[in-house]
């Protein structure tokens, strides 16, 4: 990454731009994180451990992790399909479909929440079809997964798409001329190239799902031990003015987010090294 010409700093504004950036990052991003760190550490290890391993908290981890896992599985499959279709085929409405992918990022989570619960509720367009089949989505664990899946739809698509676009057609033609079948070309040529982006996108989708609040609370039912996610339990503790518990639980989500961020970054670094040796 070190380019010699950057070091010469011929362009003015280094002090100004970096000064503005660092001051802002310190005040808006780092300071609140430090405040929460202080609040959490002042709890002491025993109290902290008791809160984060309480039965109700552990139940929220189980609910959150399983729903996020299910949502990520859906998005891994759907994301790969969408990225493939959008990059590979020319068909009417392709650009429209491409633009639509960003809807879950542009639409506020609360709006997504009330929309999904209305659609999947007993009288909704989808619910009235699914409930006679015995499939309960709204106010059930499956509803949480649906809400998480909706809000993280763009991640896999938007990370895989540019990589897929960059694959030169001649690699595939070489494979084809050597007698590879379409599935072999995908499995042995394309898949290894898009795997890092695919994993990074899936990790991002999973991370987003773990912390999701707005879309989930409307559809979840929010029953302790059954359909209560961790972010909701934090909110409930705040409502009860139980700030130590809120701090401890929030730190669990924060650490999970940092770990997943680290995983994503490692995948990207691994991918870059991978690309360089090619």
């Amino acid at each position: 990454m070190t380019r010699i010409d950057r070091r010469r700093r011929v362009l003015p504004g280094f002090g100004l731009s970096l000064g503005v950036a660092l001051t802002y990052v310190a005040i808006i991003i780092i300071l609140p994180l430090i405040a929460m760190g202080i609040q959490t550490t002042s709890l002491g290890w025993d109290a902290f451990w008791r809160i984060i391993t309480s039965d109700r908290a552990v139940a929220t981890y189980r609910v959150t992790l399983s729903a996020a896992g299910l949502a990520t599985l859906f998005n891994a499959g759907f994301g790969l399909l969408m990225a493939w279709v959008l990059v590979r085929y020319r068909f009417p409405g392709r650009r429209l479909l491409d633009a639509l992918v960003d809807l879950p990022f542009a639409l506020p989570t609360a709006v997504a929440g009330i929309t999904l619960v209305t659609l999947f509720g007993p009288n909704g367009w989808y619910g009235s079809l699914l409930e006679p089949l015995g499939i309960k989505v709204a106010y059930a664990p499956l509803g949480i997964a649906v809400a998480m899946a909706f809000t993280s739809i763009p991640f896999v698509i938007r990370t895989v798409q540019p990589v897929l676009e960059d694959i030169a057609p001649d690699i595939e033609e070489a494979a084809r001329s050597l007698g590879a079948r379409p599935w072999q070309i995908f499995g042995y040529v394309i898949w290894p190239l898009i795997l890092p982006a695919f994993l990074a996108g899936s990790t991002l989708a999973f991370a987003r799902s773990l912390g999701e609040f707005g879309a989930v609370i409307f559809i979840a039912g929010n029953l302790p031990f059954q359909t209560e996610v961790t972010s909701l339990l934090i909110y409930i503790r705040l409502d009860e003015f139980d700030y130590p518990a809120a701090a401890a639980l929030a730190s669990v989500l924060l650490v999970a987010a940092f770990v997943l961020l680290l995983v994503t970054n490692s995948i990207q670094i691994w991918a870059m090294r991978h690309a360089r040796t090619d």
């Binding site: 380019r3 950057r6 700093r9 362009l11 003015p12 504004g13 280094f14 731009s17 950036a21 990052v25 991003i29 300071l31 609140p32 994180l33 430090i34 405040a35 929460m36 609040q39 759907f78 279709v85 959008l86 590979r88 085929y89 068909f91 650009r95 479909l97 633009a99 639509l100 960003d102 809807l103 990022f105 542009a106 639409l107 506020p108 989570t109 609360a110 709006v111 997504a112 009330i114 929309t115 209305t118 659609l119 367009w125 739809i153 991002l204 773990l210 912390g211 999701e212 609040f213 707005g214 409307f218 972010s231 909110y235 701090a247 929030a250 989500l253 924060l254 997943l260 961020l261 970054n265």
Partner: protein, 268 residues
């Protein structure tokens, strides 16, 4: 890219379109369908309801405050990171990404522990008679946190790809730093900048979890639109909630249209 030729191509396209219809198109349409289910007059009545109007005003105000600030920040970070090499450059890029991966609820909690009465600055603020938590200021601050990465994320890859040759040429021809930025850099990055600002705007207006924690939810005073949507929905005023939600869905649509238009310009 090619036109589909074999059955499996059509199958894949059909599957992608079907799932997109179920999870993207129908939800979007249903927002407006419910909002207008009792006709135009009821819809307009719901929008000009004083509490909803006030929420709209507060939401617009938050955007007016936060979008310019985070646009300036985004430009500053992108300039520093893409034009110079310095120690901690990669760390700075990672730290900017933090708000993007933090749960909105956790974002709200961190601000509560900074400016709340029991927080780090709580006692000092109280002594000075300044109330930040549960006021509009808390809404502004937490919205700034949540949307801090958006403009920078759009600008950094673009400015790194463009390189600094244009700016260096301008400087060597005697342009001042400010002239170089205004006449050379800004025209090069204006579309990415616009899209970053539009994304920031959509998120500021739509932020729910973080704002929910710090706003205190005082009806008609610190309720932004997403909170008003929740309030109406929990009051079993479904049509009213969807009317308020439709304004946010409209903003989301505008955001998508801007992106669509910018991509057409690029001709990708």
């Amino acid at each position: 890219m090619h036109a589909p030729t074999e059955p499996r191509h059509y199958l894949l396209i059909g599957l992608a379109m079907a799932v997109s219809a179920i999870f993207l198109v129908v939800p979007l349409v249903s927002i407006f369908a419910v909002a207008f289910s009792r006709g135009w007059e009821v819809y307009l009545g719901n929008i000009i309801e004083p509490a909803t109007l006030h929420a709209i005003w507060l939401t617009v105000l938050a955007a007016l405050v936060c979008v310019p600030i985070n646009t300036v920040f985004g430009i500053a970070v992108a300039w520093a990171v893409s034009r110079y090499d310095f120690r901690g450059r990669r760390l700075l890029i990672s730290v900017i990404e933090v708000p993007f991966s933090v749960s909105p609820i956790v974002a709200g909690v961190t601000y509560l522990f900074l400016y709340g009465t029991q927080g780090l600055f709580g006692p000092a603020l109280q002594a000075a008679g300044i109330q930040i938590m549960f006021t509009v200021w808390a809404i502004f601050l937490v919205s700034l946190f949540v949307t801090a990465p958006f403009v920078a994320r759009e600008l950094i890859p673009l400015m790194q790809a463009q390189g600094s040759e244009d700016e260096e040429a301008a400087i060597s021809l005697g342009a001042s730093g400010w002239q170089t930025f205004r006449l050379v850099t800004l025209p090069n990055i204006r579309w990415a900048l616009l899209y970053g600002a539009v994304l920031t705007n959509a998120r500021v207006m739509g932020e729910f979890g973080a704002v929910s924690v710090v706003s205190g939810n005082i009806r008609g005073q610190t309720n932004t639109l997403p909170l008003q949507v929740e309030l109406l929905f929990n009051d079993f005023n479904t049509v009213g909630a969807f009317a308020a939600a439709s304004t946010l869905a409209f903003i989301a649509l505008v955001t998508l249209i801007v992106k669509y238009a910018l991509e057409l310009r690029e001709g990708t």
